[in-house]
């Protein structure tokens, strides 16, 4: 299992190699990139903010949840933070399994869970301004129980 939250450019091969085993017949890679438009407006670049300590923990929790729920060999997740330019990758998820169907399903589920639960935010910049995008309220996370006193 490989989880990374970084300000540096993401490298897909690193994730693919991290998850592939000799028993794997498929590696599915989600390669999420920054596009040059959103809701009819030209976008210049994005800026990602995160709560790094919790974000890394949550990405790890998603990876563990997916590993427990699907018959896969391994999963790797990398999310970039800071400024990310058009065409650069912001989120990579790689899943290896013996057969493709499980890898496709697990990868899809992992991306959805990351978008619902990881404390990461994007701000969109265009000519003359920028705005934090309206996100998804965090749902379905495991909450820490009260420590006994």
């Amino acid at each position: 299992m490989y989880v990374q939250l970084t300000r540096d450019p993401l490298v897909a091969d690193t994730l693919v190699e991290a998850v592939r085993t000799d028993a794997s017949g498929a590696v599915v890679l989600f390669y999420g990139v920054v596009r040059n438009h959103n809701e009819g407006r030209a976008v210049l670049y994005l800026e990602y903010d995160a709560y790094p300590e919790l974000a890394e923990k949550q990405l790890r929790a998603v990876a563990e949840e997916i590993r427990a729920g699907y018959r896969i060999d391994d999963i790797a997740i990398a999310h970039r933070i800071g400024r990310v330019d058009i065409g650069e990758a912001s989120l990579l998820v790689a899943v290896a399994s013996a057969h493709r169907a499980e890898a496709f399903d697990a990868c899809h589920a992992a991306v959805d869970r990351i978008k619902q639960t990881a404390p990461i935010w994007k701000k969109e910049f265009w000519a003359g301004g920028g705005v934090w995008l309206d996100g998804t309220p965090v749902s379905g996370v495991e909450r820490a129980v009260e420590p006994s006193v």
Binding site: A55, V111, K115, A118, K123, V138, R143, A144, E146
Partner: protein, 82 residues
Amino acid sequence: MAVVHVRLFAALAEGAGTRALTLEVPSGARAGDVRRGLQERFPRLEALCDRSVLAVNAEYVDGDRLLQDGDEVALIPPVSGG
């Protein structure tokens, strides 16, 4: 009294003009009290605070989680990663 360290991110940090502040809370205070404290201090952020979830010491918690002196409390506004 207890002192808690509050961390803010994204639109909340921008609206508050800071990413970190300390709050004094009465002993027996709960995580949800920090949300209310921030809403009093930053009335413009009231709606966004309502849509935020809470984390204590980098773990998601419910609003009724009891706070200890020195805890780090974060408000997590709706997320938009990916």
